[in-house]
Symmetry: C2
Subunit: 372 residues, 2 copies
């Protein structure tokens, strides 16, 4: 297992050295975890000239699902109220890089604040700072089978939690309570925790992307849209479904559901190695567009998932790039009609070549329109 | 109500203009909310030359406890995938500041990333960017009675949730389930949500600051330390208590508890307008220190609370400054003995002058050592 992390670090080191930089400072937590197997709170990873250091404000978290730091990374724990670095592991790491004899250091300018960047520069004035950019994020796009199996287990957990909710009485319960109930079930089934704040949207709220639960109660005739995900060993998946409350959906509900379902299927069917991100987006978007919902359309149709719930790639109109095999993405079109509600359908899938049976669906809860 | 926000903005505008800067860009969400009454996701506040703009990526959240934007702030909603600003409200706001004729803009360099700062600079090259620093955070330190009443209600909610948990069976339940149960009760009693991830620590984990719950189950003879808080209308409070599981605490448990209690009381009794932050810290710290726990001591004894759970002031050995009236702070000393566990006791109080009866205790759950 450990060589996985060593390989990731050596790929990054090659990238950094090819850019003429001696060392790299990784501060974004998901990037630290990807390269060092763990990212204790406040920790940073120094990819040094002589050795790799995980610089932490305190001892690593001992929760198993937080991961143990890779044994080839040396732990450096800051003294409490340590002098000079203001307790900032990034500042301490820059000092250590200079002490190792590095003359240049690549930092994550999309994550470091201006003030932190200044503190890093001032602790080691001889160090030439450059921008690491999204180099680690790019390494993270294509997953190995170990990572995918974590996503697969997380998706099973989310399917279980959602399935159990559907068997319970829903009418009269608030969005916030249903969301808390789902999050409890995620943990019951072995999730580290929710992958993101669980969204439960009823009636006029239904179909809104990222709707945060309110005290509105489920009523007969409502659309109910739910979006949840489990974190398993740090990996985050996502599933979204929309249901109708009561025995018989109204005609407009059936029509809207069928439309969003058709759009979501079109997006899923477009997933393949070599497919352009924007074409996947268009495949789903044009179904909604041609039905006259151009206004109600979301900014993107899907996105990558992994150690973060929203990673590269973005499946959006202006996105550049093509899918590779073993890239897990969501496909989540939705339509929200102000005042009336709407529909969202969201799956997590892994891009696979045709020869391997095409895209692998991780979230298997039915997408029929259920009346609950 | 609305003039409260107008007054806050005019105080900030005075500060900015006194520094010779025409306009200010506030990006830190809690700061945006403090000045504009609401901070929709991704929104920023432009304190402009002609008018104040709340620039949002989308329409404001309609959940009542998220607040409605102050009507004297003009809403500017970015077009989805808007050109030029990459969907970043901060970049759009900088362009609007320049369009208003501002020649200079103060930004929050402790919040803006290097990459975002660069994008802001490049959209309006004529704009001279300066550092707003922690100006808004400093305005936020002293609370008005409206803010304090939100904290008081949040504290009542946390007391209720904790009280109910103590009446239930604890032995055999895991830290994670107890934490989820507490968070559900917070919402039941009207909290917007938890103020921070609820910490439940049993046995050897007990007394660890910020311990994240694990699957360890409560056992007879354990110390059980719990730290939770409610968010009410955006305001966050904190309470921490430590209990013993079983009928009779061991002698070492009683001794350790009495020591931490004495330290916490010493800190509370030191709270007064004009008291130096570091002296409050020392008052509590030296009790633990003189008992030989210098090693086990936390980096700080307490901190401010408000729209964020960890605000200025820091009650720490190196902190500069003095308390004012109407500043809510925590007093939360603890001792953790590796392998054995420990004790934390944490209250939220509001600094009040002697004439008003001294510090106001918001979290009133008993601090006797309860055996559950």
């Amino acid at each position: 297992m450990s060589e996985v992390y060593a390989n990731r670090r050596s790929r990054l080191r090659d990238h950094v050295n090819a850019a003429g930089t001696a060392a790299a400072l990784v501060t974004r937590p998901a990037n630290v975890r990807y390269l060092a197997a763990a990212a204790p709170q406040g920790s940073v990873l120094l990819l040094g000239r002589q050795e790799d250091l995980l610089v932490c404000a305190g001892p690593p978290d001992d929760r198993p699902h937080e991961g143990r730091p890779d044994e080839h990374v040396r732990l450096h724990i800051l003294p409490v109220n340590g002098p000079g670095n203001g307790g900032d592991a990034a500042v301490a790491a820059a000092g250590l890089a200079a002490a190792q004899g590095a003359d240049s250091l690549a930092v994550e300018e999309h994550h470091l604040t201006v003030a932190r960047h200044r503190a890093v520069a001032s602790v080691a004035p001889k160090l030439r700072l450059s921008d690491l950019g999204g180099a680690v994020e790019q390494l993270r796009v294509v997953k190995d089978e170990e990572e995918i199996s974590c996503l697969r287990i997380g998706a099973e957990i989310a399917d279980q939690a959602l399935g159990e909710l559907l068997e319970s009485i829903l009418v009269g319960r608030t969005e916030r309570h249903l969301a808390l109930e789902l999050e409890r079930r995620l943990v019951d089934h072995g999730a580290d925790g929710p992958a993101f704040p669980t969204s439960v949207a009823t009636g006029p709220h239904a179909g809104r992307r990222g709707h945060r639960p309110t005290d509105r109660r489920v009523e007969e005739g409502d659309f109910l849209s739910v979006c949840l995900g489990a974190t398993y060993r740090g990996y985050r998946c996502e599933i979204g479904r929309t249901f109708v409350i009561g025995t018989s959906p109204a005609d407009w509900q059936i029509e809207l559901y069928d439309l969003v379902f058709a759009a979501q299927r079109a997006g899923r069917e477009f997933l393949a190695p070599g497919a352009a991100y924007r074409d996947v987006d268009r495949a789903a978007r044009q179904v909604l567009d041609s039905a006259g919902y151009a206004e109600a359309l979301p900014p993107l149709i899907g996105h990558g998932v992994g150690l973060e719930i929203d990673e590269d790639p973005q499946l959006a109109p202006a996105a550049m790039g093509k899918l590779d095999a073993c890239v897990p993405v969501t496909v989540e079109p939705g339509v929200h009609l102000p005042g009336r509600g709407g529909v969202r359908i969201d799956d997590t899938l892994v891009v696979r070549p045709e020869a391997d049976g095409g895209p692998e669906l991780l979230t298997i809860t039915t997408k029929e329109l259920l009346a609950l």
